[in-house]
Amino acid sequence: MSPWAIGFLVFIVYPMVTSLYFSFTHYDLLSSPRWIGLDNYKFMFTKDAFFWLSVKNTVWIVVVGVSVRILFAIATATLLTRPRRGIKGYRTMYFLPSMAPPVAAALAFVYLLNPAFGPVNQLLTSVGVQDPPLWFFSPSTSKWGLVILGLWGVGDAMIIFLAGLLDVPRQLYEAADIEGANAWQKFRTVTLPMISPVIFFSLVTGIIWGFQYFTQAYVTSTVNATSKTSLGYPEGSLLFYSVYLYQQGFSYFKMGYASALAWVLFVVTMVCTLVMIRTSRRWVHYQGGGMFR
């Protein structure tokens, strides 16, 4: 236990306490931290337009990005339970892209979705789409580009749903058949309750992931933007919370303000997770008890 205990103190407790302290200070690394009380938090909530922009973008990716990804994971996993032959080959092909390093995947999609020479828009034009989307060059479509990137790497979520779906006892479907249930009713009354723990798991991890969304957004906006200062390109539409925090802390070295941003993120993540755990008792069905068996 002791290495973990030391690690816990050095890498978790000490930094947590320190960053909480920093969040009440003005600290630029050059001079020592100066106590300013709640000023960082006041500025954040009342004056900082970029903070609210990054909140808006992050909520969007959490709500839209995570739910679309979970739906797609369920759809592809369901499809994989259907055939009797060749399932292994398909499973490998569907899963593989999720292994691609996020930087490489993001770069690839910046190229694929390039409005001038990317294959996606050429395909769209060739099937007769007038004015195909500008993807990462327009604030109205840039986040959808990231959603598509997330769908390409759906494999890790999909594989968990696949295991969940194959765990559903066949007798339940047979019983539903006898009662004359159609496909949708079977999905609604048998499949959905049985995979609800997996949905719950994906939602919780998805929300935590969404709040910390960084690499893909950072890479796409820095690659397309012409100057380094325009983080969140185009027009701040990819300025996510973690990107903004990184900029404040490690480009501008506003360590106090960045710490305050980090603590707001922490509190919001905690509250969301706790709310989900509380409400989960109403809709998540565990077959054999929960975590502490």
């Binding site: 816990f8 930094p15 593989l96 690659v223 993540t269």
Partner: protein, 306 residues
């Protein structure tokens, strides 16, 4: 349950995939048969369609990596000519070999650190009785929810003070002090091993350390392999850590941050970027095919045993 039985139980989820495909044949009426055939054709059409959607980006990356710079900026999809020399150019234009070596060092050392530090903790949390055990487990779980942004600023400042920014240390050292997710995964697996086995060893006079090394670790190989693979992959792919800690020292850059270097002052050299991306991905893909079972079991274990 026998030792083999335990090992199998970890693999149940994946085995399910196999058994689902082996349904014993029964005589079926012709109408049902035709209906099944049609729906099976529909299924496979959809499956192939999705497979194409997953595979096409990879193909485009490959094609682009073989184009000339000019061609990669044109609307042509098929490379003409095939510029295989791009794969030489990337190593000349950017110190890609050094980046690969740096990435490998970080990935291997932090993986070793994680396994060495997490196995004993997970053992203590699952196979030993002591006061406060559940409280510690709850703390481990809650650190999984802690956004890294909360701890990264003070840690960064500590590493600045220790003059370790621009060295590999900040990316390797923390791994030797345990990682909540790995502890959790191992603990869940260890819990599923029957207590009788430990008791038998205790009767023979084995110490807890001996029981862990000789009984539990050999049985938990799949889970340990999964933890090692996840950590290797995480370190290999990591972008934020190297960006933060190595940004000012290009000699120690990793592949992840070196990838965005293939550009002129105005724009990206897509052909070279794609070639380098593939070089970056290939070890991951090879690893996946070598250990596909471990990967899929591991991912499944995290999602269904929670």
């Amino acid at each position: 349950m026998s030792a083999r039985g335990i090992r199998a139980s970890g693999a149940d989820a994946v085995r399910g995939l196999a058994t689902a495909t082996e349904i014993s044949p029964r005589p079926v009426p012709a109408g049902v048969k035709r209906h099944r055939m049609l729906s099976s054709v529909a299924d496979h059409t959809l499956l192939i369609l999705f497979a194409a959607m997953f595979a096409l980006p990879m193909l485009f990356i490959f094609f682009t990596s073989l184009m000339t710079d000019q061609q990669s900026l044109s609307s042509v999809i098929w490379p003409r000519p095939f510029v295989w020399s791009n794969y030489v150019t990337i190593f000349e234009e950017v110190p890609l070999l050094a980046y690969t070596w740096n990435t490998t060092q970080i990935a291997v050392l932090s993986t070793i650190g994680t396994v060495l530090s997490c196995v004993p903790v997970a053992y203590a949390l699952s196979r030993m009785e002591w006061r406060g055990r559940n409280a510690v487990f709850v703390i481990v779980l809650s650190t999984m929810m802690l956004p890294f942004q909360v701890t990264i600023i003070p840690l960064y400042i500590v590493f600045v003070r220790l003059h370790m920014i621009g060295t590999l240390t900040p990316l390797i050292l923390p791994a030797f002090f345990g990682d909540a997710f790995s502890i959790f995964l191992l603990r869940q697996f260890f819990t599923s091993i029957p207590e009788d086995l430990s008791d038998a060893a205790r009767v023979d006079g084995a110490s807890e350390w001996q029981i862990m090394m000789r009984v539990i670790v050999p049985l938990a190989k799949p889970a340990i392999a999964a933890v090692a693979l996840f950590n290797f992959l995480y370190a290999w792919n990591d972008f934020f850590g190297p960006l933060l800690f190595l940004g000012n020292n290009p000699k120690l850059w990793t592949l992840a941050i070196g990838l965005i270097e293939f550009r002129t002052s105005h724009r990206v050299q897509w052909n070279l970027t794609m070639a380098a991306s593939l070089v970056f991905m290939i070890p991951v893909i090879i690893l996946f095919f070598l250990a596909q079972k471990v990967f899929i079991e591991g991912v499944t274990l995290t999602g269904t045993k929670g």
